[in-house]
């Protein structure tokens, strides 16, 4: 019962300090982050279907053994995640088991903050990806270096002096768009630009508004091109994450210099009614991811993209009679054509003596090590200053890819 899956799959793990190659590459590496908001239930996503204890502890929400989609002798995907199984079997999915950090927070807000800032012990305001943007584009020349789709800019992309673009509707993005006469709009945009001139001593928020306003002006001009250039035979499912990932594909294939894309899929906080909710969400998520990868390949644009799927925490081992409460020890997925598919790290032990606080999965791999892996091995960026220290990394990329 203990240490389940240790014998399963491949275990790729390396300590920090691998060689960082500098092979010239035509296309710059791109990271697509998919945030599952609310706390995805890892145990019901990657299911330890041979464990009696899984069924004992979850009389209501456990997925019956006959329905699961096994991919090793002891682990299976949730039945709604068939597209993920397919991608896994094609070798394009690295499963990071037991991801988390010490003293995992059970507050959505706080936990998400920690994931966004890499600061579990104090309140930080700079997002980890915003720091990446600052390194990639120190002079703030391209407002599209990072693009987030959906409502609001995530904290991961927020930091003073960093411009990141947040797009809700890609098809009508831009300022003063109700002024119909094009010449007058252009003229008024000039006045607008002057009003938004950054000036010394205006205060943090006014400065921020100047920067944001100017970023929108530049970004809008560039983004206008993306929908015009894009055509595809791939049909995305009509749900929010499908729409967001299609927008990622439209901008990515327009080659506007975007290195980081951010998307969110909400609704994972199922204290109640978990069974139908989780089934719907995993279906939406995995069909969208599958369409996205297919679309990129159709455009010969998949080879420089890696996707990270993460959530703020896992859920309690025992169900509450309808759903599951906030827990810890979640899981993440790294997806892409350069990914060496398989199982990474260890599945948290289901042995009761190993439970955290007597009720939670104990994490087996620090999330900052996953970030460091992506930064150093994929983006070619030194991680310690961004993630706040040196953490054990994985080796989830095919050898030829490592050291972009």
């Amino acid at each position: 019962m203990a240490a389940l899956t240790r014998q399963e799959g491949r275990h790729h793990m390396a300590t920090n300090g691998h060689t960082n190659g500098h092979a010239a590459k035509k296309k710059e590496p791109v990271l697509v982050v998919v945030q599952l908001s609310g706390g995805n239930d890892f145990m019901n996503t990657v299911i330890p279907f041979t464990e009696g204890i899984y069924y004992d502890q979850r009389p209501l929400v456990a997925v019956p053994e006959k329905n699961v989609l096994p991919f090793t002798d002891t682990l299976a995907f949730h039945p709604a995640a068939k597209p993920l199984l397919d991608m896994y079997q094609a070798g394009n999915v690295a499963i990071v088991q037991g991801i988390g950090y010490e003293n995992s927070s059970r507050s959505h807000f706080r936990a998400m903050d920690i994931w966004h800032t890499c600061e579990p012990l104090k309140i930080a305001t700079e997002g980890w990806l915003a720091k990446v943007v600052k390194l990639i584009d120190p002079d703030d020349t391209n407002p599209l270096t990072a693009v987030s789709f959906g409502r609001g800019l995530p904290r991961a992309l927020a930091a003073p002096g960093v411009t990141a673009t947040s797009v809700d509707n890609l098809d009508n993005y831009g300022l003063l768009n109700s002024i119909e006469v094009a010449e007058r709009r252009a003229e008024d945009l000039q006045f607008f630009k002057r009003m938004y001139t950054p000036a010394i001593g205006t205060g943090i928020v006014l400065d921020y508004l100047s920067q944001t306003g100017n970023g929108v002006l530049t970004g809008a001009e560039m983004l206008q091109e993306a929908p015009k250039r894009y055509t595809s035979t791939v049909e995305y499912p009509s749900n929010s994450i499908g729409k967001s990932l299609r927008d990622v594909a439209r901008v990515h294939t327009a080659n506007l210099g975007t290195r980081i894309f951010y998307t969110q899929h909400g609704g994972y906080d199922y204290h109640a009614q978990e069974v139908p909710s989780h089934t719907r969400l995993l279906g939406e998520l995995t069909t969208s991811l599958s369409a996205f990868m297919q679309d990129l390949r159709e455009h010969d644009a998949a080879d420089n993209v890696t996707v990270l799927v993460f959530t703020e925490f896992g859920r309690r081992i025992k169900d509450n009679g309808s759903g599951t409460d906030h827990g810890s020890g979640g899981g993440a997925f790294i997806i892409g054509d350069n990914v060496q598919g398989g199982l990474y790290s260890e599945y948290p032990s289901l042995e009761p003596s190993q439970w955290l606080n007597g009720e939670d999965l104990r994490h087996t791999f620090d999330f900052r090590g996953v970030y460091a892996t992506l930064l150093e091995q994929w983006m070619g960026i030194d991680a310690p200053a961004i993630v706040g220290g040196t953490y054990e990394q994985l080796q989830p990329f095919k050898p030829a890819t490592v050291g972009v």
């Binding site: 990141a164 003063l176 002024i179 006045f191 009003m195 000036a199 944001t212």
Partner: protein, 468 residues
Amino acid sequence: MANDRLALTAHLLRRAGFGATRDELEAYAARPYEEVVDELVHPERMPEIDEDVLRRYYPHLGANQDNPNSWNGRWFYRMVNSKRPLEEKMALFWHHVFATGWTKSEHTPTMVDHVEMLRTNGLGNFRSLLLGISRDPAMIYWLDNNENHARSINENYGREILELFSMGIGNYTETDIKNVARAFTGWTFEQPIPLYPFGHFKSHFVYKPEDHDEGEKTFLGETGNFNGEDIIDIIARQEATARFVSRHLYNFFVADEAQVPAWSVQEPVDPEAIATLVKAYVDSDADMRTVMTVLFNSDFFKAARYQRVKCPAEFIAGVIKLSGTHRDVQPGLVAFDSASRVMGQTLMDPPTVEGWHTGKEWVDGGTLTERINFAVSQVMDVTKPGPQAMIRKLSDFGRPLKPEEVVDSVLDFVGPLEVRPETREALVELAATGGDLRFGSDDERQKSEERVGRLLTLTVASREYQFA
């Protein structure tokens, strides 16, 4: 001096309400400031808004219609037209604190009742608010208290009432959370009429003694066979609660603060102001009307002009007031709900139980675009009553106006709005494009109106207009 009074009153009305038309502002400013505050904190002295016509225009406001958009349109109508602006503002404030969302239940009548409860109790005692939300079907379903049973607790509500609704993290233990959850077992709701085929009808609170945990519970060092009311009583007299509520009030009514999760480690920007509010809370035994009176009459409040980024609801309601439309019932209210949504604030549907992130976090490239484009689209038509009132004010000078005079008049009309030199310079340059402003001939009038419209458009697109 008179202008100072006007500016201060405008500040009060942006915070205690949703701004004011020029006529409203001048009427309020003619009265002593303290008297205006007293009227605002006593909404019951003013007539209730008449919704008869509204309901005729918006049939979706019927009892069993499950359409949150129309109800949010109605809320915007109330924000703009209520003679009791603080009543609506307090409801919005508590909605930020007790963030409950439609998405999970998709049950509009219950959410409408929830907001009505916030409206009714908004200036009452904090205990009655906590009791109100604990017995509120929308909240019970949102945080799963209907799944919180004597035999198997669901600690969601127990956790959030402490972390997000009263004391803040760091003031209680995980054991306290479990015991609070136990005290609220049996607090659930009923749906008297089946959903199908009749539609969505209101739910109501029920207490099920047979599902209540009658065991002894220890909470914050006190032990007894506590029920939910006892827990609320203990919570309401904690200094941590007074402080937490005060920081929320400061952030919403005075000046932008750090976000809630930072409060356990980050001192308030103005500790003295918080101490004043805490004292008002403690001395009045948690009476919100008293606390709000202290707040609005304080020097720290009066000095805090334009220190907050407007939340989308405030922004939209303020723009509607400026445009002078929707003073009586017209079609089009539902569009304000959509506008608010794309600015990052869907009323009756906050993203999570933690509510909306406020201040600077309202603004990013996407939401700034939405805000500016909305404001511009609402005021660019110079035939609307708001722009017409401003044009009248300018033509009443009865002489040609220099570009600087025109800009200063527009800024005064819009706020009075205080702007940075670079903003004013850009506006003056725009104002100067046709020389002095004249209203002599029809042709002059038409061109002048157009120019004033453009100035107004650029003014609401300014950085400064983002602030309340």
